[in-house]
Symmetry: C2
DNA sequence: CCTTGACCCTGTAGTTGCTACAGGGTGCAT
DNA sequence: ATGCACCCTGTAGCAACTACAGGGTCAAGG
């Protein structure tokens, strides 16, 4: 299939596919006489792996390692587990941070009674960290 | 005070301060004879406002609007409330997304029993969306 | 007086993960 | 032959910084 079809079936953007090829995440496909990229099932499934991993928030470098493992089934799977676990920890940390943020924002907004910007508690609170309760970022 | 001291008291990076000036978020300060930037209390508190807002996740453009309001105390404060509320909604959405992600990651990792990459459930699950339960991103 | 080191300056390029052109070629139907 | 959808390369842009390179300034110590 051509790049447009691959884009359609994987949900990836054409530019993104070419970008992945450029950075070495996808192998260079065969070319037709007219220099068009021609993809097969192996490309499709590799791209699906990449997109799925990106959707789960893995970085390109993490995906590179995961693909490398996937290409070497005889290796130990511990590395994949380590990458995923460390990623999970980062996600959990991010959630905790955002929850602090959410509470802080809700508190700041709750103080606003409308009126003039000069008396606005939102603006006041943004200007002065001392109004904060939580220890956000 | 000079830029190094301003950086110290606000916790901002020197390069970041110059960057904020370049994009018009901070006013151009006076210069000494040697062309050094010289800051006063007004600069310090404006930078604190910016850093605090950034820590709370507001974008530069949102901060630009908030600063504009802060500079015009006679205006209506509804805009500040609107920006903050919309931001809070985004934070809540992001938390919800990350929670789905977290559950999905935990589920994938839980299936790993160690062993060889060829049999690894983590890698298998990344390669095939059909193993997913949630409707993550 | 001279040097050392800490600080400051400008301007530009790098980061991440794409996305968006500009300017051109190909393939098929009308 | 002409229109249109598709493909190609190469480069520049996004957010919000961060990191130099290559220079100037200033106070203290020898």
């Amino acid at each position: 299939m051509k790049i447009g079809e691959l884009a359609r079936v994987t949900g990836a953007n054409i530019e993104t596919i070419r970008y992945y090829e450029r950075i070495g995440l996808l192998p260079e496909p065969h070319r037709t006489a007219a220099n068009y990229r021609r993809y097969g099932e192996a490309h499709r499934s590799r791209l699906a792996f990449v997109r799925h991993s990106r959707d789960l928030g893995f970085t390109i470098e993490e995906i590179r390692s995961l693909l490398d493992l996937s290409d070497h089934p005889e290796r130990d799977c511990g590395e994949a587990d380590r990458i995923a676990t460390s990623h999970l920890e980062q996600v959990e940390e991010k959630i905790a941070q955002l929850e602090l943020l959410r509470d802080e924002l809700a508190r700041i907004i709750g103080r606003c009674r409308g009126g003039l910007a000069g008396d606005c508690r939102v603006i006041e609170a943004l200007g002065d960290h001392k109004y904060c309760e939580g220890t956000h970022a």
